[in-house]
């Protein structure tokens, strides 16, 4: 069952204009800055918000078609939905929340509870079955909400930041969990997340929504290879420099970058550089790198085995070093620094 979505609608002052397909059993991750319209897109797909001009279909079922006026009721769409806030039914205990879906879809009381218990075990929340929602922790509530969505054996999974409150131990399991849940029905899944690891691991493809429009859709590798917007580059931890290409030189106006071999035409282009490909130096370095420029350290984020250094002039660049590497050059925030990168580390795509 392929999900086909074509939506054109206004959200408040903004405009949402999306056209995408999710194949049978495919998991599409949607990423994008806050307020891009991700939640609004999901709600339109589900039928909770208007879908405006366009068409939404899952397999042979047409859920919405502005041309024919078709519009399937929300409750008939069989979507496993996890909203951005868990929104458990406050007057029911956790088990009854999860059993609500099967029960609403015609299963008997005992059967619904068995299905629910099963889903709760999958999410490791079966010990919370008798609990009222307002006594659950944030992560517990989110797991119960996921269990509830999976318990209806959905034809489509729609998850709005389903891992935002989960601890790290729970996240790696999510991919397997979603696969298992939708394996029988081969239901497609649409998953919104802000987490780069989730984006790369939960989905088969990633769609980037920015200001109500899809700016790029592809596999993680495709996006990493040729990010089209700074947001994608930032998400994937890649430096992206837009400029005008002339032969092997990309010029931003303030800055010129020698790029690696390529076969694209002169004109607007996007160069990408991995943060770890860039070296920093206290003084102007000698040697092979063809790109050398002077800059200033804007910020330093220290990690356990990685330090991320941010430079803003003359272009925004992040550099990843080892803690030892940073100690070696001994710079701090605000200090002047030299950066270098080999031309062969700079890949270029037409912009």
């Amino acid at each position: 069952m392929t999900l086909v979505v074509r939506i054109t609608r206004d959200i408040g002052p903004h405009h949402l204009d999306v056209d995408l397909e999710v194949a049978t059993g495919e998991r599409l991750v949607i990423v994008g800055p806050n307020a891009a319209g991700k939640t609004s897109l999901l709600r339109s797909i589900i039928g909770l918000d208007p879908a405006g001009d366009g068409r939404i279909a899952l397999g042979s079922e047409v859920w919405h078609d502005s041309a024919t006026g078709a519009d399937t009721a929300v409750e008939a769409r069989r979507v496993g939905f996890v909203p951005q806030h868990p929104t458990l039914l406050a007057h029911l205990d956790a088990l009854a929340n999860v059993a609500y879906g099967p029960r609403s879809r015609g299963a008997g009381r005992a059967e619904s509870r068995a299905i629910a218990m099963n889903a709760m075990e999958t999410l490791a929340v079966d010990h919370l079955s008798g609990r009222r929602p307002d006594t659950l922790s944030g992560g517990e509530a989110q797991r119960v909400a996921i269990a509830r969505a999976l318990a209806i054996e959905p034809s489509l999974l729609v998850l709005d930041e389903p891992t935002s409150a989960l601890d790290i131990a729970a996240r790696p399991g999510m991919r397997a969990l979603i696969s298992t849940a939708t394996a029988a029905s081969e239901a497609p899944a649409v998953i919104v997340t802000h987490d780069a690891v989730d984006a790369l691991t939960l989905g088969d493809r990633i769609a980037v929504l920015e200001q109500g429009r899809l700016t790029q859709v592809g596999t993680g590798r495709e996006l990493a290879a040729a990010p089209r917007t700074p947001y994608v580059a930032e998400l994937l931890g890649i430096n992206l420099i837009r400029g005008s290409l002339q032969g092997l030189v990309l010029s931003t106006g303030a800055f010129e970058l020698t790029v690696g071999a390529h076969d694209i035409d002169d004109g607007p282009a996007i160069a990408t550089v991995r943060p770890r490909s860039i070296s920093l130096h206290r003084s102007r370095p000698e040697g092979s790198p063809r790109n050398v420029w002077q800059s200033r350290v804007t910020s330093i984020d220290r990690g356990a085995d990685r330090v991320r250094v941010r430079l803003t002039e003359p272009v925004e660049i992040v550099v990843d070093l080892t803690p030892a590497g940073l100690s070696a050059i001994g710079v701090g925030e605000g200090d002047e620094v030299w950066a270098s990168v080999k031309a062969s580390e700079v890949t270029v795509a037409s912009g």
């Binding site: 409750e75 008939a76 769409r77 806030h85 929104t87 007057h91 009222r132 307002d134 006594t135 209806i152």
Partner: protein
């Protein structure tokens, strides 16, 4: 995770609250102190007040049930749809609360009485006369008391969070199921309050009832009517009757509460 350590109520509200309690308690104490308790035995053995009491309890409960059956849908329609005449309907509801009860009775007669707009048709074509029947008692109580449910519930429904209903729909619940399992439980506090108000107003109702339904012992003579008439000849007896009504009301209330408390109160575990 919702129980807080300290009461978050400003201390000083205790002063007006105590005043409010006094306002309610003093007259009741006054009444109790004036009651000729020695007559209680004779009152209880007298069959007349007993049949009035039974009629009052039964009709007021029937009224409450019908008020729920009609008032919940009405409140829903008013709160949740973009009905054109919304404001007018709500105004009409308020209006029947504002009418002096006797005039409410006259209004009912002019609609459903023998010569009333509708009553005439019923009388002519079906041979059905509403006044002077227990049904008339219920209708009178409904007209006067049901708005209390509608107004309370409408406001609660209007401000209730819609997100749980949305989730229920995605889970496959059709509109009726959403209504029964999500919407109404989420306003169960208001539903309970509205039902209690309606019922209390109904069991205390006198003017509209006697005007529309009349006063026939065993058929339409409710306890308030019995009390009113007792007041004409034997005020002590009237006081006793009122206290009887109050006592029975409390008993009914507590009985319903104990049965429905898990469903009706918004208490957290």
């Amino acid at each position: 995770m919702s129980d807080t350590r300290r009461p978050s109520v400003p201390r000083l509200v205790l002063v007006p609250a105590a005043l409010g309690i006094a306002l309610f308690a003093l007259p009741v104490i006054g009444l109790v102190s004036r009651a000729p308790w020695s007559d209680l035995a004779s009152l209880i053995t007298d069959p007349a007040p007993r049949s009035a009491l039974v009629l009052s309890v039964v009709t007021s409960l029937v009224t409450t049930a019908i008020a729920l059956a009609l008032g919940v849908p009405l409140a829903l329609v008013l709160a949740r749809t973009r009905l054109p005449g919304r404001g007018v309907v709500l105004a009409v509801c308020t209006l029947s609360m504002v009418l002096p009860p006797v005039v409410a009775g006259v209004a009912l007669l002019s609609a459903l009485g023998r010569r009333g707009v509708i009553g005439r048709l019923l009388d002519d074509h079906l041979g059905l006369t509403i006044p002077f029947t227990p049904a008339a008692v219920v209708i009178a109580q409904l007209f006067v008391a049901m708005p209390f449910l509608v107004v309370t519930l409408e406001s609660a429904l209007r401000s209730a969070d819609r997100a749980p209903e949305e989730v229920a729909r995605t889970l496959g619940a059709r509109p009726w199921r959403v209504l029964a399992t999500v919407t109404l439980p989420s306003v169960r506090g208001a539903l309970g309050a509205g039902a209690v108000l309606t019922w209390a107003r109904a069991i205390g109702e006198f003017g509209a009832t006697i005007t529309f339904a009349g006063n026939l012992p065993g058929v339409t003579r409710t306890l308030p009517t019995e009390t009113y008439l007792a007041l004409q000849t034997d005020p002590g007896r009237a006081v006793l009757l009122s206290l009887l009504q109050v006592g029975v009301s409390l008993a009914v209330l507590l009985a319903l509460r104990h049965r429905w408390v898990p469903a009706l109160t918004g208490r957290r575990p």
